[in-house]
Symmetry: C2
Subunit: 379 residues, 2 copies
């Protein structure tokens, strides 16, 4: 008995394969829906006269960012420093980090990135400005700094004009830093289900951002950029007259959480992200067990939903590590062993972060495999 160190498992899928032959679990991207979502968002932003800077944290794939840039995006957002690198390697040169960071290792990465690309970052504490400012001054690079203002989320971002003024003054003290405008995002209202309630919530948040813009203008500091907005509020943010730039991420997929929201505007995303699964145990009457559990789908925003015709008689009711428990509506049905299912994940961002590839399918045939090249890069 010998061990061949080159022993390798077959690819998840091959170009030209039918969807039914893709090994499961697999993250499936429906290219027709994806193309439609990318195009509709780009058209909506263009029509509104605002810049589109899609968030890469949703998909973590440079192949997807490249298609968004080809459709007219001005750059991308990342959430973490290490996350930026695969996108830079793929040739993307304009990145906004829409999140705070602290630590010498993070500052060093920001400086290194700023030597190669157009980088903007967020701050909500003067110590962050001092740290990155000292490093930028010493390195002779220029970094655009956007203070984050809290417009209702109650998480990061300053919550007073005094805090904002202190950040602006601190930025001005460093030749290596440039005031880039404001970061303003309210994640909590993105999933307000009713369209009109979401509109009201978005307007309230935009008003808060506008007040900070006016405050700075009155101090003689115009905001070249006000960036924010997510998939749920993007259409309101685009029309607000406050935001100059939009950061939606999930719109390319429409996960289960967003799918349960009301969409009454011009932008109506389609479900494009699925997890292919196989029923691998039917030993119990009234239930089936599939091969997608906690390691194949994130459940923080609800369990996945069965897609298509199978949804009529199968409900995904519990996720174990590597098992998905499905209840049969009619226990007398024929044996489902080996049946293939498509699941709609509750939350796309952490689901994509579990997988290494998008299996891209059009008309039931595998057209491409796109690497999730920033998967796991959270530093």
């Amino acid at each position: 008995m010998s061990v061949d160190v080159h022993l390798a498992f077959p690819p998840l899928a091959r170009i030209g394969d039918p969807l039914e032959r893709v090994s499961t679990p697999a993250l499936i991207l429906d290219l027709d829906a994806f193309d439609a979502n990318v195009g509709a968002m780009a058209a909506m932003a263009k029509k509104a006269g605002v810049a589109l800077r899609p968030h890469a944290k949703a998909h973590k794939s440079s192949a997807i960012s490249q298609r968004q840039l080809e459709a007219g995006a001005v750059g991308i957002c990342c959430q973490k420093l290490t996350e930026v690198y695969p996108f830079v390697r793929a040739g993307i040169r304009n990145v906004h980090i829409s999140n705070e960071f602290v630590g010498a290792d993070k500052v060093a990465m920001a400086i290194e990135l700023a030597r190669h690309i157009t980088l903007s970052i967020c701050v909500d504490h003067v110590q962050q400005v001092r740290d990155i400012g000292a490093a930028a001054d010493a390195a002779g690079v220029t970094i655009a700094v956007l203070p984050e203002v809290d417009i209702g989320q109650g998480r990061c971002g300053v919550a007073s004009e005094e805090q904002l003024a202190a950040l602006a003054d601190a930025i001005a003290a460093h030749p290596g830093l440039r005031f880039g405008g404001l970061q303003a995002y309210h994640g909590g209202i993105q999933h307000v289900a009713e369209w009109d309630q979401r509109r009201v919530a978005a307007a309230r948040s935009a008003d808060k951002a506008a007040a900070y813009v006016r405050f700075l203008e009155a101090r003689g500091l115009p905001c070249p950029v006000v960036t924010g907005g997510g998939t749920g509020t993007v259409e309101f943010d685009a029309a607000s007259g406050v935001f100059t730039e939009l950061q939606p991420g999930s719109y390319i997929f429409l996960d289960g959480h967003y799918g349960s929201s009301e969409w009454l505007g011009g932008f109506r995303p389609r479900h494009g992200l699925f997890i292919a699964s196989t029923v691998m145990s039917t030993a119990k009457p009234g239930m089936a067990v599939c091969d997608v559990g906690l390691k194949g789908v994130a459940v923080d925003s609800g369990l996945p939903r069965v897609h298509g015709a199978a949804a009529a008689d199968l409900r995904y009711t519990a996720a174990n590590d590597e098992h998905g428990i499905l209840h049969l509506v009619d226990a007398q049905q024929p044996d489902r062993l080996g049946e293939r299912l498509l699941l709609i994940p509750g939350h796309c961002d952490p689901t994509c972060n579990l997988h290494d590839q998008f299996v891209c399918v059009r008309d039931g045939v595998v057209e491409a495999l796109w690497a999730i090249d920033a998967r796991g890069l959270s530093q």
Copy 2:
């Protein structure tokens, strides 16, 4: 402005670095606790005269399996076919797949693996036996097949003597298959918090397994192996006289979920797994935001707990994608920006599956980096 395609971020940690210099988020393995847990479990199994076959799904790292084998384990368990390959590449030659699988791709992997290593698998449906049996017969390999019996979990596994007999007969019909014994695992009772209640539950499950063993013996089919048991019940399973082999996985780590259980026996695991985190925003009074959210820690079994002295005044209260929300017990405390925290994950298995490396620390110094080489391999 040029883009260097070789641009790369620095390593997560360097050997010899103090823990405080590890980039965050990072998965930290306390080697003293790990060594103690590995040694204690091996000693417990040896004393009880049962084989130890630790489950690799908990850690997904061949470096860890190698240390468990050095401590006396007879082999390892995996949960999926692709998961097996990194362990084989690392030289491990005895793997039990403690889970059912269906599909031509999966059968082909099992046959390929059986050419190189000692492989055993689980079934709970005669169609699975026929598919793998036909392939094994054709390939001229031998695979040990262990029917899974349901001992209370109500998930996979047969629930009647008739089903079990049908599986045994189906196995006997294939020269490429060998009846290997029984797989018997009840995941649901592993986290019964009270020691005595857990003992009672384990005994009830072991009784169910024993009844299936007697049934087969009465049919003239002795069970060479009865394999099962998890970290929570392992000491009872070892002493049951029913199980010949134990499959604990989480014992090397003691995650938060297991940490909240009562441990009154000879085996008392220690917390060994942490996530290093940094406070990166303190813009709001009474709270702090750290850099570990849903992409750094699994929350299916509860939010992470703050470890050590900081636990006295910080509570982790919510996980967003890349943010962890911490509430300060005393809002008047000094600014915590940049403070480093260790978090105990609620559930180790899906948490390890988010990371690429264990940063192995002893006495506060990085001693090794171990690849999580089976991370994401769920097919």
